[in-house]
Symmetry: C2
Subunit: 402 residues, 2 copies
């Protein structure tokens, strides 16, 4: 940076994300990409949205096009509050803040809760976008030991309590991005009891909860400790990400702070978008629509599970996810996912190396595969190519990875 | 705050804004409100937006409803870049970042340039929303002495230069909110020369520039020092605020930092909204539409100018604005705008006390009047009521204000 702009310490931390560079590499035509985190565009309810746009602009254009309340559109807040009952939560509409995607929920949480140097606890690995959202507020990330069910409850007692105490633990209980793992009921109870005992608030991020395949979702973490949990939800995976609509459910004492942060960030989420989405969902549309997404994604999950079993060389380890959008693979010793990516792209496929998802000590043997944007035959073909790339690397004498 | 959430220093700073409370008071039915900063809903191009929504969802639904680039929609970025030539700026589309309203531009600037305790210079008075946007990043506000043409150029030489040096000066050259004032060509040249000499970057906020009444806008501040200026623009005042669309034009060396901050904040501005607005503006729509807004606002400005001359008691001071949406009134000694507001609301009108717009040392004798949401007869009536409230207060023995 030249001398005009070079003074800010914050700017020095804002470096282009590695994932950005990775996705650029994988955007070549003809690539079977399992890299992106995009929902399938085939699931977007175009006709319902078109009818709703027309309805809103015919009946409430002046209100929809004017500045609006920072809290969000009242009827949509009521709809969200009622819907949370299915996850065991009792929510008042006054606790609901509509955000510009759930990514903004992460930003607002960082804006009011992260102080420079104060600890923030995250799962190992965790959602990259959350690390990016919190980073500008200069927290000190602490990685919580995690297994196939998520975070280890015993970790909470080990978190720093002296000033500056641990601000919060950021947890993704359902079909986590990137690992696809889900927390069992027993784990949820144990984690929330441990968090409460340690007095460490929880940020619960649940963008994938509606995308279950085998059994409906378990109670939200927030249901076990409502006054100590901020819940983040999203319309991106069940309707469309292009409208950028998410929501925060916050304890009453914290709501005014988040509201002020929201007003400072962008005044309010587009009123037009909120009214259109409310028009679409108000009469039970999602109860018909989401099962169609689930059926599609489940078939894709099955195709990828079968393909991986058939094509990956011995030594690769993975779980078949019970929902969501991702498989998480750990490669045999000697392989490095980042080093393999250019070879994979040359061979016609793409994935995301898992190293990007760690706050500390990245595991270079991990990678993430999305199964939702390709068709089952494409998935079979892509996974076969991945298997060949891995076997070639092993045959060419892989070096031990650190 | 209870012990669960009470650790964050940031949260302690996020207090509900005074203006929020004021606007709540003034939202009573039957009030002639001159308080809000809303554009006139009569100017929203409903039919053009409806046709564009239909066009986008008929032809490009999958792209418009999917996740999109953090930079913004390419054709809209090109359109913005070209349009800046009319303000004397030479802009590449690569310098344009589409934001969720220009309020988000302020947030992103704070996010990359404000460090805790570092000085940030603002006009006296200045846009309240900018103070709110920067505050979470804990800057040390420095108020620049300003007159009826904006900031005094001599102030730049007096700004702190030792570490932590002054991060930037935030300036509104056209029909400033709240004062309505405009910087002359000579003042622009002198200010930018002084900023450059002092090595203090400039944030130029220009939401009102298209709303000129008497003569077209002068060259942008950025045209005098492109590599030292970040320019913020908005579609809210010329099209609709309900789509939440604005933009940043940044020097190339700073663009990647702002882009990363944008991605962290909300991934991207709604792709659907960007495509719809591009569809509306791409063939010169604003060249036909904005003159209609200007003519309407100019007639309202004239009505308010006449009403104020007729109804305000001696000792009140104001300038007639050459564009924008606001008159700024300084009351006679002894009157306090905040104290008068409840009386004004009881009498059937509302304004915003000016004290909210100062970073330091608020002037309690100031108030802001919007002239764009009422009709000329309503303006005449509202200003007559204001005059009566002021005369009553003076007759009842106003106390000297500090």
């Amino acid at each position: 940076m030249s001398s005009i702009w070079n003074q800010a310490r914050r700017a020095a931390r804002m470096n282009p994300s590695i994932i950005r560079e990775i996705l650029k590499v994988t955007e070549k035509p003809g690539i079977l990409s399992m890299a992106g985190g995009l929902p399938s565009a085939e699931t977007f309810p175009v006709d319902a949205l078109k009818a709703a746009c027309d309805e809103v602009l015919s009946k409430n254009a002046k209100e929809a096009l004017q500045y609006a309340a920072s809290e969000g559109f009242g009827p949509l807040r009521e709809w969200v509050a009622q819907r949370m009952a299915s996850l065991g939560m009792t929510v008042s509409p006054d606790q609901v803040l509509i955000t510009s995607g759930s990514q903004q929920g992460l930003d607002l949480v960082g804006k009011i809760l992260c102080d420079a140097g104060a600890p923030v606890a995250v799962e190992t690995p965790t959602y990259l976008g959350a690390l990016q959202a919190f980073t500008p507020y200069e927290p000190n990330f602490v990685s919580l030991a995690s297994d196939e069910q998520g975070v280890d409850p015993a970790e909470f007692a080990r978190l720093p309590h002296d000033a500056p105490g641990t601000r919060f633990a950021y947890l993704l209980p359902n079909y986590q991005n990137p690992t696809g793992r889900v927390m069992s009921l027993e784990r949820r109870q144990a984690v929330m009891a441990a968090a409460k005992a340690a007095n460490v608030p929880v940020i619960e991020d649940n963008p994938y909860g509606d995308l279950w395949f085998d059994e409906p979702p378990l109670p939200a973490l927030a249901s076990f400790w409502p006054e100590g949990t901020i819940y983040l939800g999203s319309f991106s995976k069940v309707l469309t990400p292009g409208f950028r609509l998410g929501f925060i459910i916050a304890p009453s004492e914290l709501y005014p702070k988040l509201l002020q942060a929201k007003q400072a960030a962008d005044l309010h989420t587009p009123g037009f978008n909120q009214r259109v989405v409310y028009e679409v969902v108000k009469n039970g549309f999602l109860d018909e629509h989401v099962p169609l997404i689930r059926a599609r994604y489940k078939a894709n999950r099955d195709a990828m599970a079968e393909g991986l079993k058939k094509h990956l060389p011995p030594g690769c380890v993975w779980q078949s996810p019970k929902g969501g959008m991702f498989f998480w693979i750990r490669l045999p010793e000697g392989l490095n996912a980042m080093d393999l990516l250019p070879k994979a792209v040359d061979a016609g496929i793409a994935f995301v190396p898992g190293a990007a998802f760690y706050a500390q000590n990245p595991d270079p043997r991990t990678l993430r595969l999305s199964f939702v944007t390709l068709t089952p035959p494409q998935i079979e073909e892509g996974v076969a190519i991945l298997g060949k790339v891995l076997r070639d690397a092993l045959d060419n004498g892989a070096q031990p990875t650190p």
